[in-house]
């Protein structure tokens, strides 16, 4: 039984944790929230220097040539620090999209840039209010040109490369767009987590490349989301633990009626419940990581379970962190809301809990039919 990360993986985790603890405290989150930066470039550069942006990218393209397990430990630390960097968009989605579906030329062009932090990628799917089936996309790709509007796009301002899901004669197709080229314009969209800027991007005949197979965009998106769901679960677990221990520390310091509020069962049991949810999420995510790393047949099921448990843990821990802080907890000046916001962002970017619970059961039905 070897159901844990290896010593090397834990070493990498510690290294990333130390770096983020030193260089990306919550004051940096606030700096991005309130300032004009689209992301914390200093933190991003540091992560690139550590190799953290390319842990799962082959060495041939500048990566560390490790795998999904290493990506998961990095994600957990990014989540813990609530870092204002385009980690999910660029590393877990765009970079992974190129690795999974890119041609040799596309890989050679983009991966070294992405790994070095010199290009920032994002995945652009949503087209405004309310969910739409992939078959109803208004953005279209034809004659190597992309036309349409995507919003909200996470890190859409910072990104230099977008993986766009577009409609077209062959059906939904994933295309790769250089956002610095002609025919692309963007503007900021205000969201609930201003530490992670989002944008509306308008494509007016922008040059685009098919990524993967023409007409296979919906299937490719599912694959990407499934893979990213596992990694995101680690990010959520890191964030949830940060929120839990922030609450615990406050409960030890704060007094009411002559006692630490952490001595009241209402607070103790609330935080015990957060701990329970986090451990359930962690155990599910470990299995997800194992399936992701090994390409196991249980990946659809394990990814869905990781996602459902990850959303639940971070949501609960972050909202009850505010509650534990009492009046101070809902002031802008205090930190708990940073995790409350981030938990919601991470719950919505890859699709919410209801959708994934349904997928989980579909995968379970399939497995049990076999």
């Amino acid at each position: 039984m070897e159901f844990d990360f290896s010593d090397d993986q834990k070493l990498l985790k510690d290294q990333v944790q130390r770096f983020l603890h030193d260089k990306s405290p919550l004051t940096v989150v606030r700096r991005v929230m309130e300032g004009s930066e689209t992301y914390a470039a200093d933190v991003w550069r540091g992560l690139a220097d550590l190799g953290a942006l390319g842990v799962a990218v082959p060495e041939a393209f500048g990566g560390m040539g490790l795998g999904a397990l290493e990506l998961c430990v990095v994600a957990e630390e990014v989540g813990r620090s609530c870092a204002p960097v385009p980690f999910q968009s660029s590393v877990c989605l765009a970079t992974d999209a190129v690795v999974q579906f890119g041609s040799d030329a596309q890989k050679a062009k983009w991966l070294p840039l992405l790994v070095a932090g010199k290009a920032i990628g994002t995945l652009a799917v949503a087209e405004g209010a309310r969910r739409k089936p992939a078959s109803q996309l208004a953005t279209t790709f034809a004659n190597d040109k992309l036309t349409g509007l995507k919003t909200p796009v996470l890190d859409g301002e910072a990104a230099t490369l977008a993986i766009v899901l577009a409609g077209g004669p062959a059906g939904p197709t994933m295309v790769l767009v250089d956002l610095t080229a002609n025919g692309v314009s963007r503007k900021r969209v205000e969201t609930i987590d201003p530490a992670r800027k989002q944008a509306e991007i308008v494509f007016e005949g922008a040059a685009a490349d098919v990524l993967g197979e023409r007409g296979a965009g919906a299937r490719q998106l599912d694959t990407l989301h499934q893979r990213a769901a596992v990694v995101a679960a680690f990010e959520q677990i890191g964030g949830a633990e940060a929120a839990l221990y922030m609450a615990r520390d406050f409960a030890l310091e704060r007094y009411a009626f002559g006692r630490q509020i952490g001595s009241y069962q209402a607070i103790k049991h609330k935080l015990a419940d957060a701990y329970i949810k986090i451990e359930l999420a962690r155990s599910n995510a470990y299995y997800g990581a194992m399936m992701l790393a090994s390409g196991g047949a249980d990946l659809p099921l394990a990814a869905a379970a990781s996602r459902v448990a990850g959303i639940e843990a971070y949501e609960y821990a972050s909202k009850e962190n505010i509650q534990t802080h009492g009046g101070i907890g809902f002031t802008y000046a205090a930190d708990p809301h940073l995790h409350y916001r981030r938990s919601r962002l991470l719950a919505l970017t890859l699709g919410g809990s209801t959708v994934w619970k349904n997928r989980l059961v579909t995968a379970l039905e399939k497995r049990n039919a076999a």
């Binding site: 309310r130 969910r131 909200p152 989002q198 002559g258 970017t349």
Partner: protein
């Protein structure tokens, strides 16, 4: 069983409606009074004018005795008026705290001179009051306040900090609870004063909330001088006086407004998709919606039960104590699931379905579960006052406040 007015209530309702029709525009169907508004000078001016008009027409201080300038009416008349007013566009209530909590405290614990001087201007809207109890280190535990007042001849010198003060920056007077003796048990060393908010050394700073609003203030006191003649009750008896104020807070009949509820969620679920079918056809969404409905209607009819008791001249039962603890979580859960129905657009706070209203509610609900009594304190209150269960163990009863503070500092 019916929802009908008694003949008296019906007559009062007609009178109220006639007054409102004559003096305010009707609210458009489906719109809600806004919950957080900037109280700028214009708004304050119009609120004062509206208060004067209401008083003249007999719709201010409805339940107060005539002897102190009220209308000598019944609680149910107060509710009938509020129901009617909610259908019109009127200035925001900036007098709720003064007339609902401060002035009743003054009437009960103040001198005849205090009443002569202050009740009338408060009623006519000329003077606005705020309440200065909570402190950074004294939230749920209000009696744990540290703001000190020291005797100086006929005056008291106040130093310290209050927090969560609604309307401090536009108030004329404030009701202030301070510690006058740290060397007795926590509840024994408090004294109540009122003060002119324009006094030297008083500084109000707005607190920015997670939701973006800033209705509350921090108020700092630096060598503020308060004449002893502005003391309410005896020295050291401040906790008793404060209980009067807090009791009146509980009597205030709140109708939560501006909240997105079941109907809004239903509308959203009808127009959204989940897994390529309309979200409203998804059993999981239906299940949650039903749960929201049961809670929301349960609160509504709980309010009706309370109004019925008032209408019969009875004292309402303890059931209204459930309101905030249910509605806070309901607001939060409903908003959260709504955002999920919007997909990635659920993150967008300024536009989209409801123009960001669900998102604002989700942010605000985190505070609603805390302000005016946390979920945890409210459950304690239900267990103790309604179910008759024992209080939590209190370790702060038989020691002086100073000892408590030094024990805390030592840990």
């Amino acid at each position: 069983m019916n929802f009908n007015d008694t003949p008296d209530e019906a007559q009062f309702r007609l009178k109220a409606r006639a007054f409102l029709e004559a003096n305010a525009p009707r609210r458009e169907r489906g719109t809600q009074p806004s919950r957080t508004v900037d109280r700028d000078a214009e708004v304050i001016k119009s609120a004062k004018a509206w208060q004067a008009k209401k008083l003249a027409a007999g719709f201010a201080a409805i339940t107060w005795p005539k002897a102190v300038g009220g209308q000598g009416g019944t609680p149910i008349q107060q509710i009938v008026y509020a129901q009617e007013e909610a259908q019109f566009v009127t200035p925001p209530g900036v007098f709720d705290i003064g007339l609902g909590m401060c002035i009743p405290t003054l009437i009960k614990h103040g001198s005849k001179e205090h009443m002569m001087r202050h009740v009338k201007p408060a009623l006519t809207g000329d003077e606005i009051w705020c309440q200065l109890f909570s402190e950074p280190a004294a939230g749920s535990d209000v009696a744990g306040i540290r703001t000190r007042a020291k005797r100086d001849g006929d005056n008291w010198i106040v130093n310290g900090q209050k927090v969560w003060t609604t309307g401090a920056h536009f108030s004329d007077f404030g009701l202030l609870l301070v510690r006058t003796d740290p060397d007795v048990a926590k509840h024994k060393g408090l004294t109540m004063f009122f003060l002119d908010m324009k006094s030297k050394g008083v500084e109000a700073r707005p607190i920015k909330q997670v939701s973006g609003g800033a209705e509350f203030n921090e108020v700092f006191f630096t060598d503020v001088v308060i004449p002893d003649s502005q003391r309410l009750g005896t020295i050291g008896d401040g906790w008793t006086v404060a209980l009067t104020t807090l009791m009146n807070e509980r009597l205030a009949v709140g109708i939560a407004t501006g909240i997105l509820g079941v109907e809004d969620f239903l509308a959203l679920a009808r127009s959204s998709h989940l897994d390529e079918e309309p979200a409203i056809r998804n059993g999981a969404i239906r299940d949650r919606l039903a749960q929201f409905f049961v809670e929301s209607e349960g609160l509504k009819y709980t309010r009706y039960r309370m109004w019925t008791a008032l209408s019969r001249g009875e004292t309402p039962g303890p059931q209204s104590s459930i309101n905030k603890v249910v509605s806070g979580k309901l607001m939060q859960d409903l908003a959260s699931l709504s955002m999920e129905l919007m997909g990635e657009a659920g993150m967008v706070s300024g536009e989209g379905p409801g123009n960001g209203a669900f998102q604002r509610q989700w942010l605000g609900a985190a505070g609603f579960r805390i302000a005016g009594g946390t979920d945890e304190i409210l459950r304690n209150i239900i267990a103790e006052r309604v179910l008759g269960m024992p209080p939590d163990v209190r370790v702060d009863k038989d020691v002086t406040f100073a000892q408590l503070e030094s024990a805390r500092a030592k840990r």
